[in-house]
């Protein structure tokens, strides 16, 4: 399945019932230099819209919201020592969390790439 996006500038790829979530290139550009990422503990149940992570840039802290309901099954601990990866490779190596989806149907509510591009153009 292709990559999905939220209006809050997260990307989501899905493999089976596991969604990998990160923030988009646009989001990291807006944040500027990322100096710290706070990730949720594995095993935590999240609902769509819950605060799932916090990204700290030099200037400010920004929340990252869970894009879907589910359970955190993995967090990208490599970001603890190398938060700058979020700027370098936001849509690859700097994924934030993997979530076991509670309801794959929620994916239908997310934007595809074309819709996200249109969303960015409207900003």
């Amino acid at each position: 399945m292709s990559t999905r996006y939220t209006e809050d500038h997260e990307w989501i790829t899905v493999d089976g019932d596991i969604a990998t979530v990160g923030i988009t290139t646009y989001a990291q550009e807006q944040l500027g230099d990322v100096v710290f990422v706070e990730l949720p503990e594995v095993g935590r149940k999240v609902s769509k819209g819950d605060e799932a992570a916090v990204v700290e840039s030099v200037k400010a802290a920004s929340e990252v919201y869970a894009p879907l309901d589910g359970e955190i099954v993995e967090a990208n601990d490599a970001l603890a020592d190398a938060p700058g990866k979020v700027n370098e490779d936001p849509e690859g190596a700097a994924w934030f969390v993997k979530i076991r989806l509670a309801d794959a149907g929620q994916l239908e509510g997310l934007m595809d790439e074309a819709a996200y591009k249109a969303h960015l153009e409207g900003l």
Binding site: G32, D33, V35, F36, V54, S57, V58, P83
Partner: protein, 380 residues
């Protein structure tokens, strides 16, 4: 905050846009928070080479009276510093005080060189406090001294270890300035007012330039490969590392110079005379210590703590609050400053900072966090 329609620009706003700056509202102005290089790179540029800052939003003004003594004494009714004793060509950091000894603003005051400037003092105040300051100053002046806000000049800062070399090729006279010295001079033929001071902890200059000449001056500096443009984001991280206060955050109308740890604004003559607003409180705090004081804090982990975070003692009670906090690019670690009860202010005191409901380990630390490298003129 003014909306986008009413934001003021500076003589350099078009240049910022051309350089790809991200412009944000700040104190009623549209100002560059960062350029494409980003805050960490701009911070390093200033620490390692030279950074160019547009600080034209700050308030420049003259106090004009019949002679230095009269003008200085008029200002001294509002500040605790020795202004009368300021020598020509010297600049001093001071604070406007309210009747309770609280800080209305912090500012730079310069006594210009030259007999033709006798009776004039040049002030630079915070952008966010211009209106408050000017109203307060104007109301406090005697009839023979007047305040003249300067609306037709830009102000830029060139800061960093290479600032002096860079300036020397455009304005040779700048090399002769001592730290906190000031003079009129020519920069590539442009008449400018230059002081050797800044807000980064580095050697450098602040250059007051006629608005129409600001862009040629900025372009001349940026053409030098040692110079890069630096936005307000790095200006904030640089001043925090240097342990310098940001008005409205680390200083406000409730904080006194003693609480703020800036007692160097009080010179001996004024302390002895006790003839400044709030002298009763300030002299009492000087003698007995203030109830709360500004301290620096280093954090044990990587997570930054921001302004407003509670400071708790290791046994639980709230002992203070952060007034500035962020990431120190030079140190690669988070730092902060805040006010704590005096009993917890000793360097090395362990504390907790409450961030998103969690307690982060921190320690009271000496400031500056990064050694200041102001220029000291060699003895003649």
């Amino acid at each position: 905050m003014a909306d986008a329609e009413t934001l003021l620009s500076t003589p350099l706003t078009d240049l910022h846009r051309e350089l790809g700056a991200r412009l944000v509202p700040f104190a009623g102005y549209e100002m560059p928070v960062q350029y494409p290089a980003g805050i960490i790179a701009e911070h390093a540029q200033t620490r390692e080479k030279a950074g160019l800052f547009d600080v034209s939003h700050m308030g420049q003004a003259f106090l004009v009276g019949p002679d230095h003594e009269t003008t200085a004494r008029a200002l001294e009714t509002m500040v605790p510093s020795d202004v009368a004793g300021l020598k020509p060509g010297r600049q001093r950091y001071t604070v406007l005080l309210n009747a309770d000894g609280g800080i209305v603003d912090d500012l730079m005051v310069t006594r210009p060189l030259g007999a033709e400037n006798d009776g004039r003092l040049y002030l630079v105040v915070n952008a966010s406090r211009k209106d408050v300051d000017y109203a307060m100053i104007a109301a406090g002046l005697p009839g023979n001294v007047r305040l003249e806000p300067i609306e037709d000049r830009a102000l830029v800062a060139l800061q960093g270890p290479m600032a002096a070399e860079v300036m020397a090729s455009h304005a040779p006279a700048a090399a002769d300035l001592a730290f906190m010295g000031a003079a009129e001079m020519e920069f590539d033929g442009i008449k400018v007012h230059v002081s050797r001071s800044g807000y980064t902890g580095e050697d450098g200059y602040e250059i007051s330039v006629p608005a129409g000449a600001a862009e040629p001056l900025a372009r001349a500096l940026l053409a030098d490969e040692r110079v890069g443009p630096v936005g307000l984001g790095a200006r904030d991280s640089l001043r925090l590392e240097a342990g310098l206060c940001l008005y409205g955050h680390d200083l406000d109308e409730t904080t006194s110079p003693v609480e703020g740890g800036i007692t160097f604004v009080l010179q001996k003559r004024r302390k002895e005379a006790g003839d400044f607003p709030g002298a009763t409180r300030i002299l009492s705090e000087l003698a007995k210590g203030a109830r709360r004081v500004r301290v620096g804090l280093t954090l044990a982990g990587r997570a930054p703590a921001r302004e407003g975070a509670e400071i708790r003692s290791t046994d639980g009670p709230v002992i203070g609050v952060l007034t500035s906090g962020g990431f120190a690019p030079t140190l690669g670690a988070p730092i902060a400053m805040g006010y704590v009860d005096a009993a917890h202010a000793a360097t090395g005191t362990q504390v907790k900072l409450v961030v998103r409901g969690r307690e982060l380990d921190a320690e009271v630390a000496a400031m500056p966090f990064v050694q200041q490298r102001y220029y000291r003129k060699p003895a003649a």
